[in-house]
Symmetry: C2
Subunit: 432 residues, 2 copies
């Protein structure tokens, strides 16, 4: 399943300090498995891969089929956890240009995550005269960015489809209350549930992610199978648990002043997976003046940009490298009789092989330069392994935050700018 | 032109410490204007906006016209500074989905910046049976990633176009030597010059960037006009120089333990501009165990993700916010008689206005939480202002690195992984 390779990290962390951490791992593990700690009301994701609502799952598959049959564009409206995981998985499995390569399904765009007029104009240009559907994702329905963009898109749908507009709007929201739930009831939008016990950044394996993923043609059954496998394996309460190893390593490195973690990836399609990771860890751990700052780096491109900093700048960082192993696409370097580029020494070699050497070389060079690498190995870039990976990071994040002594499931700091923004916007009740 | 607003940064930096920094600014300024310091052989970018080769510029315009007339896809092969700035400017001006919205010009893809087999397969799928051209960008022609991908693409072009393949290949490389220069001579590729006195990360305003930008339909004349304006204004040797203010502020904040700088943007299209910024500063300053770690944040999306960390995590960061002012696209929130989302208090308001309030609110909330913001104001998101912005950051980066006491124009750390990779790959002469 998942293996955490600590070979180079162990050059920076003694075996004894690992030994001393397992007790803290065990305590954090118990908090995730049994509750009893701050945030316990948001542990629904722990058993979700087994307990998810099969009836709703079947409805998601059927709805995705309907959207595929009547729409050329699906617009997903959501911010933070309401879109990052979904976009992450689609790009990871289908590449950053998925809307140009996946011709047999609707194009999928994620909006409501900015207040850019340019981005909204771009979306209208892209939709043009084509048929579209809207999936609005918001637990409350009152978050400003998606609510504003949804109001604009609703107007567009009503102009285009008149009284039938509601048949193209799908609301993923609270099962019982909130502005969006109420609106969906009144207007007759089909509804999907954001469970009460799963927070936004942990919600990609609920209908939040599953509906747009199914429209994208991602095999959501295998995603859930992967997550279920991870759930079983990570339930293990011992130092053999790879989530324990990862959580222990990052907390120990943090204790040594490694205050920045770079998620390092070798696939251009993994860019948004890094964004999802940054939200997951940054929002879970970054509180009370504590927490590793999560960042990311895309190899080998960035070996030629901030790679310099990694090698030779301040020594306050470590990297966590995602290793998907070999690809199913094989690309071999051709032989060239002229050999003007002097690359014949690589002819007949697979791109994967060359990538592997670049990867191992970077790990060694960085370790020599004082930057430890933790390597997370997942076999293959396919739906099931992505399900494993998502659950792995969710579980490791919960562990790691409890070990740090913070509640992994709240985000008190997000309120500060909202409060000030509402005052400035003159929102009723916020003008004081 | 450009204004640097230090109002909130000044809550963290005393006026006296600013005063004490101007002398160092003046010394660094002299190094950029007059040379005499390490790296002086790479100062060509300083006067480039006035001195650039007009004959080549005209040839770039003509070549772009030819590519537009005979190609549906332009593949740009390059890594690091050979693609980041170009992609940054295209996405900034035309949005992240430019290949879907700009129908009157070839689609443009950037490759050779990874060793991903998946990414290469994706590109072949995208090209399909359509006509394509290749712009290979490499000073030496021997950098592994672009050289390997170029070899693969050359094969594709030769299969498709036979003896005419060379008419669709454009080499941006050294004017006199190197593997790519030699190959271009022998094969008859049209050539464009990477000047000797401009390093990779400073090269976007040379033919490196200008040719693909022209194909994209970006007004490269106005880009250069903007850069020329910036060049004149930033030549000013006084504390009124906005580049001095920015360079001073970031060095003073760094001295206070603010070891991470987040470039904060409000446009989804600015994602790659942030990547360009990260290379520029990370590679220029991150050496000898020193340097601010450059990262980025995309608002308002990230106010709902690592915004939590910013507000409430470790206090080792500051943000530099890009403020483009109001957009040329106006989007007004419609009135809704039902008001189920309770947003009527915003009806009639422009998205730009709401964004402005979110932006000011975030700056205040972050300052209250211990995170200073430096605000860089540029009027409007158009070619000329982008030219200004590029030159501004280049100049400020040179200043800032000299103030830090490092050579802004070398990248010794990038060699470490290459050396190890060549050994592993068995490159002739590197097996020791």
């Amino acid at each position: 399943m998942i293996k955490v390779d600590l070979t180079t990290a162990e050059k920076f962390i003694t075996r004894t300090s690992f030994e001393q951490t397992w007790e803290a791992c065990a305590a954090a593990h118990a908090k995730l498995m049994e509750g009893g700690a701050p945030g316990e009301e948001y542990l629904g994701w722990v058993t979700l891969p087994e307990n998810y609502d099969r009836e709703e799952f079947a409805r998601i598959i059927a709805t995705a089929q309907k959207i595929k049959s009547d729409s050329q564009v699906l617009v997903v409206v959501g911010i933070g956890g309401s879109y990052l995981g979904t976009r992450a998985i689609i790009e990871l499995l289908q590449g950053q240009n998925h809307n140009l390569t996946q011709k047999d399904r609707p194009e999928i765009y994620f909006v409501g995550n900015s207040l850019s007029s340019n981005a909204f104009y771009e979306l209208k240009t892209i939709i043009g005269q084509r048929d579209f559907s809207i999936n609005v994702v918001s637990k409350s329905g009152s978050t400003t960015e998606p609510a504003v963009i949804f109001r604009l898109l609703r107007e567009l749908a009503e102009q285009r489809y008149g009284a039938d507009a509601h048949k193209r709007i799908y609301a993923t929201t609270d099962a019982e209350k909130g502005a969006l739930h109420q609106m969906a009831l009144e207007e007759g939008y089909e509804m999907f549930t954001v469970p009460d016990d799963v927070g936004g950044r942990y919600s990609v394996l609920t209908s939040v992610g599953l509906l747009p993923l199914a429209v994208a043609g991602v095999d959501i059954e295998n995603i859930m199978n992967g997550a279920a496998r991870a759930m079983k394996e990570l339930a293990l309460g011992s130092p053999d648990n790879p989530a324990w190893q990862y959580a222990a390593a990052r907390n120990l490195l943090y204790g040594q002043g490694k205050k920045i973690e770079l998620l390092a990836v070798y696939e251009p399609g993994a860019r948004f997976f890094c964004e999802w990771f940054k939200q997951l860890f940054g929002e879970s751990e970054g509180k009370h003046g504590r927490g590793i700052f999560p960042s990311s780096i895309e190899y080998t491109a960035d070996l030629h940009s901030i790679g310099q900093y990694l090698q030779d700048g301040e020594r306050h960082l470590f990297e966590t490298v995602l290793d998907f192993g070999t690809s199913e696409n094989h690309v071999y370097v051709p032989y060239d009789t002229k050999n003007a580029d002097a690359l014949n020494y690589l002819s007949g070699k697979n791109l994967d092989f060359i990538k592997e050497q670049a990867f191992r070389a970077a790990v060694k060079a960085h370790a020599d330069g004082g930057v430890p690498s933790v390597i997370v190995e997942i076999p293959g870039l396919k739906a099931e392994s992505v399900g494993v990976l998502v659950y792995f990071f969710e579980f490791a994040c919960g562990l790691s935050a409890y070990m740090l002594g913070v509640n992994p499931f709240d985000q008190p700091g997000v309120e500060a700018y909202k409060k000030e923004m509402f005052r400035r916007l003159g929102k009723p009740g916020h003008t004081g």
